[in-house]
Symmetry: C2
């Protein structure tokens, strides 16, 4: 009987979610532990409907290499959570059986790890012979236990360098000019905090960072802004999309009706809100920029370290499956020492699923509008290295399925 | 008596306006035709106030090389037009004399060429011994006579590849999803048209392009959109910030009071407007993205060809000054033949100043919502080549003046 591995992607795309996928494919190519890798289209939705494709084309090293640097989710994605129980589980394992699938690797964030957890609990309870493995993903960096998540370093590098460039651009005229940059991350400020990496000995674009972990107090904010604006002509204010007021309401949440199946309210507008606050209070030329989805799909600005770590964690997921493990997620532990170094190991996915890792207090500055050296020391190594992107006449090349 | 060349930058920044500046500096380094290069801070405003800095530091090849790839305007910028006549001219030439300036090179767009034209006419009328030279710049590509302008190729490459990445990102879920991308260009559709370069044999993200040269007819637009949306799940609609209705009013012009001294109304919102049109008409998930100033200050996505051509035109400006020319602008003529090749020569700046080159009819598709093969053949070569950007631990390096 054939032994096949099924792989799928889930949640918001990142610049390196295909690097993780490439790591899975490479590990199977090298180990030959499985006869074939199948890919499920649109995550667990595709699993339920048996929408699988063969991934054999990626036995070609050149194509695998191109996949590794292609942003966004080659296999498509979904935002679907499995119910606590129900017929769907039996259906899924029937499909696994019908397709000779003995391992399922799911690449996604904390909600996706919920799927991995539920499926693996079902395996424990029923004795099904399928290994269920999680491989992490998210630009928000909000998975617990693992030191940092694939996607975060690349998005942080995008934020860092975009802010530097925007700062140069907005500082050209002989006038005060403020930029408010709205950054993704939902309830966790990791990515917004990475704006601090934009500062170096030559230019210091960022003086104020509004984190979702800190209650947004308009009065305090305006006092802080006053100080900055009176001493500088140009500054970039980094604002998380997820900042909240004292009552816990998102600043300018846009439409609870847009909430997805993961029950995440659609966010947006915090930057615009802060822009209006500033221009009303100080009459200074202020412009808000919403980086939008560019911060999660920009590949020429990816961190090579992030790409390689995603690739390795994808490969590690296959190693775990080969060893017959289940209900675990590949993850990173940072090792002590002066040089950056990490080891990859397995984490109990039940301890990861549905949890959110926020920025810890010791990484937030005492006035709440910045970060500490501890954060910078943590984040700086993660944006290292430039990928060699393949272009054809100036147009970036990608590995893509047929998109309708 | 010393012989000095004064250089300045003006108008909206671009990813290669410093490449042009580097070309000027390099040509003086190499030719030694001038004892020193002075830079004026904030363009002609700085000239009037005598705010000059020495550019001697760029005799260092490494620093010059870094300047060449630094986006935005090292010398700052302005949006100031000189009056038709007045004391200011005498003041300017007094300052030139006091500083031993015998050549002034001004890097800017069509409004800036107005300054070059006026100053050179003053030289003609008064016999002042100063050569006044223009070097072109603009991402809008709207300068007449010259085949294309420094900045356009890089911005077009940014648009092309950002659209491709956004398309991948938005197509991951199993649902219809439309992106509306608002692109700069004011009244000229060159940059918006470059969205067409995002299409290749693997993916075709762009089906509709809304150009400012074509009256925006809501009815026709919705019919076109209907056709596309019924046959595809994902598309990126490219919309110029400068689209107008049949009466010539900008769609969603934001605040005539924000008009700058060049009398340009602040634009913005066309993308949002189209997003609303679509989601109301079709009930499809639609999201608008305003590329904003990122499209003109993104250096890792610059076109190497654009960088080199900007550099060469800057150098050519010095050559013209050395030859005692005045009232001319360096510009490009594309040569016939299968391979892309150009020559740089001098154009009468009086024929360039204040004029606007729009997309010609033969480059616009018959239904008005796209471009022809002629446009693609014109634009494709301009986005070739990748610069080697210098990073320090993932953070892009720049040459910058002290920015307050």
């Amino acid at each position: 009987m054939a032994k096949k591995l099924l792989v799928a992607q889930s949640g918001g795309p990142t610049p390196v979610i295909n690097s993780a996928l490439a790591g899975v494919l490479n590990a199977v190519n090298v180990s030959q532990a499985y006869d074939e890798v199948l890919g499920s289209i649109n995550g667990i939705e595709g699993v339920i409907e048996g929408r699988f494709i063969s991934m054999n084309k990626f036995r070609d090293a050149r194509r695998l290499s191109l996949l590794k640097q292609t942003p966004s989710s080659y296999l498509g994605s979904c935002r679907k959570k499995l119910p606590a129980d129900g017929q769907v589980y039996e259906d899924i394992f029937d499909i696994f059986k019908k397709n000779d699938i003995c391992a399922f690797v799911y690449i996604g964030g904390n909600d996706s790890m919920d799927t991995v957890n539920k499926l693996s609990k079902y395996v424990e309870a029923t004795g099904k012979d399928v290994c269920i493995i999680g491989v992490p993903k998210t630009i928000d960096n909000d998975l617990v236990l693992t030191d940092h998540t694939p996607g975060f370093g690349s998005a942080a590098k995008y934020i860092t360098n975009s802010i530097r460039q925007l700062y140069l651009d907005t500082s050209v005229y002989d006038m005060k000019s403020i930029i408010v940059a709205e950054i993704m991350g939902r309830n966790a400020g990791w990515l917004t905090a990475s704006a601090s990496l934009a500062n170096d000995e030559k230019i210091q674009p960022v003086d104020i960072i509004c984190l979702p972990e800190v209650v947004f107090d308009e009065q305090k904010f305006l006092e802080k802004a006053q100080n900055v604006i009176s001493s500088k002509d140009t500054t970039v204010i980094a604002v998380s999309e997820g900042i909240c007021d004292a009552c816990g309401n998102y600043i300018s949440a846009v439409g609870a009706q847009d909430a997805d199946e993961f029950c995440h309210a659609a966010l947006g507008g915090a930057g615009k809100y802060v822009e209006t606050l500033i221009s009303k209070a100080f009459g200074v030329k202020t412009r808000s920029i919403e980086f939008s989805t560019l911060q999660r799909c920009s590949s020429e600005t990816a961190s090579l370290r992030d790409i390689e770590e995603a690739f390795e964690q994808g490969g590690y997921g296959v190693k775990l499956a080969k060893e017959g493990r289940s209900g675990v997620m590949a993850g990173i532990t940072r090792l002590k020492g002066d040089e950056y170094s990490v080891e990859i190991s397995a984490f109990d996915v039940g301890l990861v699923a549905n949890k959110e890792k926020k920025l810890p207090g010791y990484m937030i500055s005492s006035d709440g509008f910045g970060v500490t050296d501890e954060f910078v020391a943590y984040a700086k190594p993660l944006i290292h290295g430039q990928p060699h992107i393949i272009y054809n006449g100036g147009v970036m090349e990608f590995e893509v399925r047929n998109i309708k």
